[in-house]
């Protein structure tokens, strides 16, 4: 048996749910100055931005197993060879901007997530996750599920940040001999 049905509830179901959604907003947590102050609070840093050559990019890629997407390196140097890099990696939908502080002997002093638009997976900002990178050098594997723990539901973000730090350490290793 068949009979007509009012379409109104169906149309209402389609039209009412959609506007309930929220519009995306970027989450900016730290400016460059704030990141510098947090990671190297008592050290004067001098900006020296570098455009990597093709051969330098290849050297970094070979050392880190990670593609150099932007040859323009934003780095601030300390007098003794300390460095602070501000870099970005691809998130699931947008870029994740982060800062990596490297000591004069090439160890990670700390990392800070400066700008994170992938709101879920914001655990990458948590101190305990970021603390895993402290002391890492260019000789460490820096691989997810090896020496860096994955974040459930944010595997892509945590994998890309981990790979980004690996690339930064390879970049530091190359540049510190050319300062």
């Amino acid at each position: 048996m068949r009979h007509s049905t009012n379409w109104a509830p169906v149309i209402a179901g389609l039209t009412l749910v959609v506007p309930a959604a929220q519009v995306a907003r970027a989450e900016i947590y730290l400016t460059e100055a704030q990141a510098t102050a947090v990671l190297f609070p008592k050290i004067k840093l001098t900006p020296r931005f570098i455009d990597l050559s093709v051969s330098q990019c290849k050297t970094i890629e070979n050392a880190s197993d990670e593609k150099v997407r932007d040859p323009h390196v934003r780095v601030w140097w300390g007098r003794k060879g300390q460095a602070l890099f501000i870099d970005r990696v691809i998130g699931k939908h947008d870029f994740i901007t982060y800062a990596v502080a490297v000591t004069a002997d090439g160890n990670v002093k700390g990392i800070e997530i400066m700008d994170y638009r992938e709101t879920y997976g914001g655990e990458v900002r948590r101190a305990e996750w970021r603390h895993q990178f402290v002391g890492k050098t260019v000789r460490d594997p820096l691989r997810l599920d090896h020496d860096i723990k994955n974040i459930s539901g944010a595997t892509l973000s945590s994998a890309h940040v981990t790979a980004g730090v690996r690339r930064i350490l390879a970049t530091y290793d190359l540049l510190r001999h050319q300062r």
């Binding site: 049905t5 169906v10 997407r69 691809i90 947008d94 914001g122």
Partner: protein, 303 residues
């Protein structure tokens, strides 16, 4: 008998509004028809609404709007379960019955609940940290109405889906393959039937701007009568573009999927002695054109 859809729809709408959406992004559908290996994070909930237009037969006027409303939960980082209520708004005029083209489906405009299904998805490998992604889906379905013809029908179906995914270039490109097999048992007007539904999908997508993905989906759909692979009822090929937008707490995906070819193209002779056929498509149980708009909201505690 027609089931009244209004209370169920209102209930789902009320659930959607009662739960405050908070940002979460896992398991958003990048494709309309193809499933990726992603799953919900542990303890997180989502609401999905699929709206599918199926339009055009060999003769007459045929328009169907399928609505699939689902609520899902992630039990751990690799396992999720989703519950779906499936319904259809169907409009037909002088459309030959694909089961017997000597008669038509009758002129009708009706809405009804078709089925309820529960989908369990388990991910073995993640494309973000493993060489490729691999997930399996198992979805039992209990039905009370034929969404293609609008007839009362009881059915049980068991959908098995194997999902493979390979990401490239920092996960900006992805290639996804789905292999679907669905044994189905139906009873229509006391007549039992059993079939296999088979689907293969191969799709790719590219993140061309922050929050936006553009891709292409290709699908082959086949049915086998009597659950015998030697008795193919039809095979239909579809291909079309897909566009995805993902905001912080919601996402939407639109896919346009015209049928580009199929068999059999001839369905038989109608009551007036005219062949019911199309030049290159199969239009018995399939349609000339499909389009799907998916929308999802994720609910989670802010990390």
């Amino acid at each position: 008998m027609i089931r009244k859809g209004r209370p169920q729809l209102l209930l789902l709408m009320a659930m959607a509004f009662a739960m405050k959406p908070l940002p979460v992004r896992a398991d958003e559908a990048l494709f309309g028809y193809t499933t990726t290996t992603d799953s919900l994070p542990e303890g997180k909930w989502e609401y999905q609404q699929w709206n599918t237009l199926r339009d055009g037969k060999a003769e007459g006027t045929y328009t169907a709007l399928d609505f699939r409303n689902g609520v899902g939960h992630g039990f751990n980082s690799a396992f999720q379960v989703e519950f779906y209520l499936n319904s259809t708004l169907l409009h037909t005029e002088n459309v030959p019955d694909p089961g017997n083209v000597q008669q038509t489906l009758g002129n009708q405009t009706q809405f009804g609940i078709d089925s309820f299904s529960a989908e369990a998805k388990y991910r073995f490998y993640s494309p973000y940290k493993d060489p490729f992604g691999l997930s399996v889906v198992f979805e039992p379905e209990l039905g009370v109405r034929d969404p293609e013809r609008g007839l009362d029908q009881t059915y049980q179906a068991l959908n098995f889906r194997l999902i493979g995914q390979k990401d490239f270039s920092d996960d900006q490109w992805l290639l996804v393959s789905n292999l679907d097999m669905t044994p189905k048992w139906t009873v229509t007007s006391g007549v039992p039937q059993k079939t296999y539904l088979f689907e293969y999908l191969l799709s790719g997508s590219y993140r061309f701007a922050p929050d936006w993905f553009l891709g292409l989906e290709a699908r082959n759909r086949r049915e086998f009568a009597q659950q015998n692979f030697g008795s193919q009822t039809y095979s239909a090929f579809y291909i079309g573009p897909t566009l995805h937008y993902g905001a912080q707490s919601w996402w939407a995906t639109l896919t346009l999927l015209p049928q580009i070819g199929g068999s059999p193209t001839g369905l038989g002779i109608d009551a007036s002695g005219t062949p019911v056929q199309d030049s290159f498509r199969t239009l018995g149980k399939q349609e000339k054109f499909e389009a799907r708009l998916k929308f999802g909201i994720n609910f989670a505690d802010r990390p």
